[in-house]
Amino acid sequence: MTAIAPVEPVEWDPADDIPIVLDKRQTGADRAFRILLGSSGAIVLVLLVGMLTFLGVKSWWALKTFKLDFFTGTVWSTPIHPGVLGILVGSVLIAVIAIAVALPVALSIALMINEYAPPRFRGWLTGLVDLLAVIPSIVFGFWGLEALNRYMNGPVSWLADHLGFIPIFRTTEPGNYADSVFICGLIVAIMIVPVVASVSREVMAQAPRDACEAALGLGGTKWGTVTDVILPFARNGIVGGALLGISRALGETMAVVLVLSSSNAVSKAILGPGNGDVAKQIADTFPVSGIHSQSELTLAGLTLFGTTLLFSLGGRVIAGRAARSAS
């Protein structure tokens, strides 16, 4: 029989049992670290605010001189009559054409990768789409100038000849179909397809698999699953992706600079020359302009910046809401 040593009763006084006081103060190193982090965040903040303020100051003269006329004028002729619509409408048209072409195509890429392609190719296809998103815009512009203009001449002239009764296909200069807003829109569409596809694919991938399987199990077709489960679920994400695409398209510079023919007035004929573009106007004329024209161009740039911000922040908010509701 082994003896168990009796436990000595420990003498203790409840009064001695004081909780340890933790020193909650930050150490000096921690404070310095936080200041470092905070200041780098502040740099970013200052950068954007600084950019806006500086450009604002630069464009103040134009705003003061032309006031509302600047934003309502439809012909851009610096320095006397700068109407920003004369060049902004072109930018917007390009973005609209681009998103109209890119959205269905991007959605089919997203659906194809997620639902239709064999699973083992999924990673590869996703990588390929992301890869295509980093091709520089000047390369696309060069391609559009040299190749797409030529390829599209036939179809576009057919459109103009046979569907010319539709206002948007009417043309002022028959036979001259190169370097148009339409061609630019197509190029920009090709550029934003990977962006929109990548965002919407990610959201679609989060659609609840059990709901999809339930739909299939109830005898639904694959397309039924897509329209009734995946698309409603991913709606916000798709809208967010599309808005991001539009903001990309609006801010796109080089492809448009290379391809679009110069113009300064609004034109309904998207197939032919006509319609300017803010980014192109700045890139082409800013360094050779006088001080007043520069101020006007800066204001036009700010207007474009504002429009872009509207779309990109809206896109982020909506896509963010989609991500939150998904999780």
Partner: protein
């Protein structure tokens, strides 16, 4: 009752339970789709031939429409409306995706077909010579542009990547309301039209400094304005998914916040952080609008990014595009090809780095296990 449960199964299954394997396409399905396609192409081709129209785009487009209709009718007659919709949707999704990928790959291959021969025909010299023409006045190359791009992007990386990492860390680690604002600002900056950044640096620096204002360094600063948000967002995504348990474990052991970030969070996310930086570099190397007003360009070699005009690849392409001679344009294609290869290679590198190391691998213990007090 319990007896029957404990009994061994009376009849073992004769065959192991194999999952049913569905056949992808029955012969019938293949016949239907191929038949519709052939019928459509043949019909349209016949109509076009009778009319004497030769338009490849139109032929393709009309054939596709007819094929779509025919295939729809066949499926509808045979399987009903539901299957018809499903099959047509499958065709539409596949053709849309394939069309887009084909067009995108066509761009890549067009640039390759135009640019690769230019690079190869004068192989090393195209990458070495500048645009002054050399001794015989006819050897052109993009060497100066490559030097410029490398220096400008390297400088932009040095400027923007540390700020991007710190800002991303700030957004994750700080709970101040300012962090949210910064987050939105970064989002907003990713949508900045690139020409605006160029315009900004041009008015703030180049105009006051006149002819000497443009330089590789100014271009690098402009590029970093665009690179910062891209890298920052990518870094944010990586830092955010560092498991909170790692952080809490370190904090519970009494580590101050700066040590937690430097010794736990950053090492855990390092692979993703490197990927973020390479992504930023890849996105920035091809940016043109920023350097348009700020780098200055020029045909000569200029190794000093801090003084004098400097060429770079996007700017070189831009210069060549509007030249009248075919030779000049072919140099542009060569430059475009080099730029595309550089950017794609960087992107693939980012992917390889990103997938090679597991993101959550706990960092190996450093040699000195005893930490300084």
């Amino acid at each position: 009752m319990s007896q029957s449960v404990l009994d061994p199964p009376t009849a073992a299954p004769a065959e192991p339970d194999r999952p049913q394997r569905k056949r992808r396409a029955t012969n019938e399905g293949v016949v239907e789709i191929v038949g519709s396609a052939v019928a459509a192409v043949a019909t349209i081709w016949l109509v076009f031939a009778i009319d004497g129209v030769t338009a490849w785009f139109g032929l393709f487009f009309c054939s596709y429409l007819l094929f779509f209709t025919l295939y729809g009718i066949v499926s509808w007659r045979k399987y009903g409306v539901l299957r018809m919709k499903d099959r047509l949707a499958t065709v539409a999704v596949w053709s849309g995706a394939v069309l887009a990928l084909v067009v995108l790959l066509a761009v890549v291959s067009y640039v390759t077909v135009k640019g690769l021969p230019v690079v190869l025909s004068k192989f090393p010299s195209f990458l070495i010579h500048d645009m002054t023409g050399g001794k015989n006045g006819n050897t052109f190359g993009v060497g100066a542009a490559i030097v410029g791009t490398v220096e400008q992007v390297a400088l932009a990386t040095v400027i923007s990547v540390p700020i991007a990492y710190l800002t991303a860390t700030y957004m994750v680690e700080s709970r101040s309301p300012l962090a949210r604002v910064v987050r939105n600002v970064v989002d907003a900056m990713t949508g900045t039209p690139s020409i605006i950044a160029g315009l900004f640096m041009y008015t703030i620096w180049v105009v006051p400094h006149g002819v000497n204002g443009k330089s590789g360094f100014i271009a690098a600063i402009t590029l970093s304005i665009m690179m910062l948000p891209v890298t920052c967002r990518a870094a944010l995504e990586v830092i955010r998914i560092v498991p909170g348990s790692l952080r809490e474990a370190a904090l519970a052991l009494g580590a101050p916040q700066w040590r937690v970030v430097l010794r736990v969070v950053i090492p855990t996310a390092r692979v993703g952080l490197i990927t973020a930086a390479i992504l930023g570099v890849a996105r920035t190397a091809g940016e043109t609008a920023e350097v348009l007003f700020t780098a200055g360009g020029g045909p000569h070699y200029n190794f000093n990014p801090f003084q004098g005009n400097q060429d770079d690849l996007p700017l070189r392409i831009y210069e060549q595009v509007f030249q009248p001679s075919a030779q000049a344009i072919s140099i542009g294609w060569g430059a475009a090809f080099v730029l595309m290869v550089v950017v794609l290679a960087l992107f693939i590198l980012a992917r390889l780095v990103g997938s090679s190391g597991s993101m959550f691998r706990v960092p190996r213990r450093s040699r000195s296990t005893v930490e300084d007090p």
